[in-house]
């Protein structure tokens, strides 16, 4: 059995957003058996990368489950939109980096998960360089 494929698209010409701007997009799951999908989670989140342990915080979260009598066909386009926060801005530092992304997590019936994400940039902070 093939894993389903997630198609995620952000609406807009640029992947650079300003604080407070609305982020919108759509996604669908390409699968031969839609009944195999138990739930889908959509998160707009930031996480850190670099030398330190990872910090992560979710700004917008949406979970659609197929186990409460509802029967969502994830092969059809699902849309989302959220107003982005003022901070933290995307940052490319030396030992600390901050990334923003939209992450889709698909939960399958037998415990498998499929994850897809689309990065974007919040704000325009120039890249940092080490000083010494």
């Amino acid at each position: 059995m093939n894993d389903p494929r997630v198609s995620l698209r952000l609406i807009g010409d640029s992947r650079i957003y300003s604080p407070g701007q609305t982020l919108s997009g759509e996604y669908f799951v390409d699968t031969t058996d839609p009944q195999e999908i138990k739930a889908v989670e959509l998160s707009v989140l930031w996480y850190t990368e670099g030398k330190g342990d990872e910090d992560l915080a979710v700004h917008h979260f949406q979970r659609i489950a197929n186990d409460n009598g509802t029967d969502v066909d994830f092969r059809l386009s699902q849309q989302f939109r959220t107003a982005l926060p003022n901070t933290p801005l995307s940052y490319d530092g030396v030992i600390v980096r901050i990334h923003w992304c939209v992450r889709i997590r698909v939960f399958m019936r037998r415990g498998r998960e499929v994850v897809s994400e689309q990065s974007f940039q919040l704000g325009m902070v120039p890249r940092a360089r080490a000083v010494e």
Binding site: K51, A57, P88, I95
Partner: protein, 461 residues
Amino acid sequence: MARRFLFFFRKKRGSRATGSERLGRLGEALFYTAILVLGGAALALIIWTMIVPQWRANYGFRETTCRVLDVPLPEENHGMESTTYRPQVHIEYVVDGKKFDKLAWDQLRTWYNDQARVEALTKRFRPGETYNCWYDPNDPEQVVLIRGSVWWVWLLAMLPAAFFVFGLIGLARNRLQSRTSRERRSALAKRAANMELFEPQRRESPKFPTVPIDAEWRNSPGTALAYRLPIATKPSWQLFAAAMSFLVWNLLAAVLLTIAIRGHVARQPDWFLTFFCLPIVAAGGWLCYYFLRQFLITAGVGATRMEVSDHPLLPGEEYEILLSQAGKLTFSSLEVFLVCDEQATYRQGTDTVADSQQVCRMSILRNEHLQIQPGLPYETRCKFRVPAGAMHSFKCDNNAISWRLLVRANVARWPDYERSFPVIIHPRGGEAAAGTNHQPHDAAAGGVSRQPTPTSGGHDT
């Protein structure tokens, strides 16, 4: 392919952690299950062999009378290191017309270390006299002369109970984590924090998530400019820490050195200890130098005060600072820098390691050849502009980006020193987007909260 066989060699940090998360959770579940089973088994054993028999003797046994036939010597148990003693009294009693003849005492068959104490306990039972005793109605051969609860049984039960609860909580947590994604846990945690009954003490501004609040800065008005900046670490605390390190370390070094020297004097030198002492004594010498240096800085250099025309700072904006330095000193140079540090903490085994990297160091003031007179602090003002592309202040559990004004003094015939005054920088774009009411010189002005607008379908956490 190779990664399939290297599940245990996880890369813990960096762009992507490697290794099998599912295998990690399984290992964690097995660990907590083992703790749960061991704790549960030990707890069940204590309950079954101690608590239940004690409870039955107290509440389930029937009372009758018995005649003491004899008070024999205590029963002895010769262990590896000591001998223990158990009291026993030879009694005769009748149940339903049937006569029983038993050695009895308590239900738990308690053993004592002290023979004299055991003999004192049994002394009150005299042969030929009648006393109360309690027998098991289901098995009349089970009889006790002494009833009551023993406190240490409950204390003994607490240890396996703690293991049992630890394992249970660990398994529940493991199950919750394996059933919920990290994003969902983060969203739930934030929602729970927002639903707290009492207003939590905020570490970050609601308008600017992850940016530390600047209440501490705005609570302290300056004498000439709007705000007086707090100093990062007070020199007196640095001196105290240096003094404690110097004292404790050198006390240890002195003890070790004395033992080593005594060995040499007695012509029985311990060369391992002698060589072991060398780096310890060297470190003690460096701590002595560091303590003296801190002492000279604290005692000889007066207070440094920094005031700023507005706070928080914004990228691209111009601000004025006032630097005040007291003391009787001659400075070769006195400099002020605007510094940005990236800070990261990470766990390495059981240790938490911190690292930092300077990513901005902008000189904003440099004065040379200064002479400060006692009672007349040196004061200077200057203007500076925060770089237009400056990253805002950021603070999370493991990562931070912090800004500070750094005063560096090069003092003639005296140790040089640095003093830091943290500042908060807010994002420029966020100000416009959030419609902030940035009000210079208004110490009472608090941040205006603007909650993100909920959108259809999901929720902003």
